[in-house]
């Protein structure tokens, strides 16, 4: 939330610095006294957790890159070299591989939270759109990173996913093939492909970093949404970021790292596929090509559609449609807490995502395919029909008058004029 700067340089040096580069002022205003809704729950801690994982991935990745060799005949061996001969190499690699999974787990929870509480609605549309771009960039980065291992699953995942573009042949004969060969840098997935994937895998995290800065900037203009979806109106609705949310985010982050550490130390390969410990072989196709778990819902959507081109379109649409939900959702109320009908449809939406994830790992045949089609249909129905229609017809339940009222009960500051209530810190 834009607010007047309250920073006061403590000494001559910080005053001198502040007149030239007011970075301390920025930190003070944006992360010290920044007014936050007082009623945020633990679902609001994933922003901090995600920032942590971006840093973990960049730091571990930079060191891994010092030892990794992006060459088709040496990549797999260099990964084993890291696991065996590089000091703490096994730790770095398991951190980086499982860090990717934790990054996606956190981002899915972050997205579900944003959707449930209507965090994409005015005035936070750009904040949301930047978030979708970050998600897209994360997907691209994770896909490229997975390919670098150059195991069987890496190689065949690259083959399958890049081949999606060949579906454009259905529009203009030869177009798709030309694009695929351009991406590959040859007539098959090979050394040029691996090299460019490596280059882009190193580049994209910095793009994500830039997008994250914009995301935080866009967040700090209207300030955080909250479980009631009601904006901050009076002083008693808000508390300062520090110490309240620094300590709460710190606790949540530490608890999440316990889960991260569990995977690193006790189940480092649980989330990946054993086939990726077999070196890439263009002559041997694995019986089942499956992506990493975090892509399975989208993989299921791709395979639910019988037509190749339409399947690819559905795959991209399932993510790109998220860009438009600030306008697809017609409800005046932000938080699904006060939306008796939409609440249930939203639960169904989350379930359809989980079902699609489960089916993404199964062969698309028999009941799996039928259920996969139903879940895919619901995914799109929810975004394109249910969001606008329910918004029109639904009658929201009674809402509290303010954030303060939602926390302290009726008559406890909802109508208190600005500045009249004592600072909550002194309560």
């Amino acid at each position: 939330m834009a607010h007047e700067s309250t920073y006061k340089p403590g000494n001559a040096l910080s005053k001198w610095f502040d007149d030239r580069l007011p970075v301390l002022r920025l930190m003070h205003d944006q992360f010290g006294v920044f007014p936050m809704p007082r009623n945020l729950n633990y679902l609001w801690t994933f922003g901090g957790i995600l920032t942590f994982f971006l840093v973990v991935q960049v730091l571990s990745g930079v060191v891994l890159a010092m030892h990794y060799v992006p060459h088709e005949s040496m990549a797999f061996a260099s990964v084993e070299h890291i696991m065996r001969d590089v000091n703490w190499g096994w730790l770095l690699r398991y951190m980086h591989a499982n860090g990717g999974s934790m990054f996606f787990l956190a981002v899915y929870l972050h997205i579900i939270r944003g959707m449930y509480y209507g965090s994409y609605k005015a005035p936070r549309e750009i904040l949301w759109i930047l978030g979708v771009f970050i998600f897209l960039a994360m997907m691209a980065t994770a896909f490229m990173g997975y390919s670098l291992v150059w195991g069987q699953m890496s190689f065949w995942a690259v083959t399958v996913i890049t081949n999606l573009f060949s579906s454009l042949d259905a529009i203009w004969s030869g177009l798709g093939t030309a694009i695929v060969e351009w991406i590959w840098g040859g007539f098959a997935v090979g050394n040029p492909t691996l090299n460019r994937l490596y280059s882009l895998h190193y580049l994209l995290p910095f793009v994500i970093f830039g997008l994250v800065l914009l995301h935080i900037w866009a967040l700090h203009v209207p300030g955080s949404n909250n479980p009631t979806g009601i904006e901050i109106k009076t002083k008693s609705d808000s508390i300062s970021f520090h110490p309240y949310y620094t300590v709460k985010d710190g606790f949540a982050m530490s608890a999440f790292i316990v889960l991260f550490a569990f995977f690193i130390f006790y189940a480092p390969n649980f989330l990946s596929h054993p086939d990726n410990y077999i070196e890439a072989d263009p002559l041997v196709t694995p019986p089942h090509i499956v992506p990493e778990w975090y892509f399975l819902p989208f993989y299921a959507i791709l395979r639910a559609i019988p037509d190749k081109l339409l399947g690819v379109i559905a795959l991209f649409a399932s993510i790109l449609l998220l860009l438009f939900i600030p306008w697809l959702d017609t409800s005046k109320v932000k938080s699904a807490r006060y939306r008796p009908i939409y609440k249930w449809f939203f639960a169904l939406f989350v379930i359809s995502g989980l079902v699609l994830g489960y089916l993404g790992a199964k062969a698309p045949e028999g009941w799996y395919l039928i259920v996969g089609r139903i879940a895919t249909a619901y995914y799109f129905l929810h975004l394109l029909v249910i969001m606008p229609v329910v918004g029109w017809i639904e009658k929201p339940t009674a809402m509290p008058g303010s954030i303060t009222e939602s926390v302290l009960g009726k008559g406890a500051g909802g109508g208190t004029p600005k500045g009249a209530a004592a600072a909550p810190e002194r309560r």
Binding site: A77, W90, P227, V247, V258, A261, Y266, W293, L296, G357
Partner: protein, 267 residues
């Protein structure tokens, strides 16, 4: 305990648990893909959070590998020095030198530009049984014996699978015909494997008093392959335990700090 019982916290925990279950569900079928026969879990010394390798078992396992498997299977990511490293078979320095010296290694070129043969040193990699994949296929009826360096991580079931495979040879059941040059195996996907029965009772001589049974040979070499695939397992578990204790304490203290900070505020 207000924070714990708030609806947000509940929702957060339900969502996290739900997503985690889903995560597990995704991972499990992804690994179970293919009609693999059921593999029985064995009780390995390296199982669980406090697991360690059994040095004697790894040393016997290396002997089985060297005398039986190494005839066809290479282990290109292993070096003789690894055999003496902490957390592995931990052969003595002299033993590692002696084991390395058993193989002949092509080195060079020397000052005259000639390649020459010399006895192996601890820094040398395990020798490859064949010059190239084509030679390996030619010698094995068209089948390529895979490298075993990371085999224990490259198959669903890991060491349990390897043990099941090595002890899974039998006569084919009624009505099943096995193709020319193939062997029936209960644990192998598709049940027809090119590898002939590799291990049998008294196949490898043990010098430490362990009974030289097929079962022990299979167990020992499976454990050896697990170590070969994950040589830092002991270090990982040791550091993991310390880190976990530290992290759980830190999380507890942060929770107390959070309660303290928020205590004066009605929420």
């Amino acid at each position: 305990m207000k924070a714990i019982t708030s609806p947000g916290m509940r929702l957060a925990s339900i969502l996290s648990v739900g997503l985690l279950c889903a995560l597990g569900a995704f991972a499990a079928p992804a690994r179970a893909a293919g009609d693999l026969p059921t593999i029985t879990a064995q009780s390995w010394s390296f199982n669980g959070p406090f697991g360690t390798f059994d040095r004697g078992q790894l040393q016997r396992g290396y002997k089985v590998y060297k005398e039986v498997c190494a005839g066809c299977h290479g282990m290109k990511f292993l070096h003789f020095r690894n055999l003496g490293e902490e957390g592995g078979p931990e052969f003595s320095e002299a033993a590692v030198k002696a084991l390395a010296a058993e193989v002949e290694v092509s080195d060079g070129p020397n000052d005259e530009g000639e390649m020459f043969d010399r006895a192996g040193r601890p820094a040398d990699a395990f020798p490859s049984p064949f010059a190239n994949a084509q030679a390996a296929r030619a010698a094995n009826n068209g089948a390529l014996p895979p490298d075993l360096s990371v085999m224990a991580k490259a198959r669903t079931g890991g060491a349990d699978y390897l043990y099941a495979l090595l002890t899974g040879y039998s006569d084919p059941p009624e009505g099943v015909t096995v193709a020319e040059g193939m062997n029936y195996n209960k644990a192998f996907p598709g049940h027809q494997i090119a590898m002939a029965v590799p291990l049998f009772d008294d196949g490898v001589e043990y010098t430490d008093g362990t009974a030289a049974t097929l079962d022990n040979h299979a167990k020992d070499v499976s454990a050896f392959l697990m170590w070969a695939a994950e040589p830092k397992l002991e270090e990982r578990l040791r550091i993991g335990l310390r880190f976990m204790i530290y992290l759980v304490l830190l999380t507890g203290f942060l929770y107390l700090a959070k309660r303290r900070v928020w205590g004066s505020l009605k929420h």
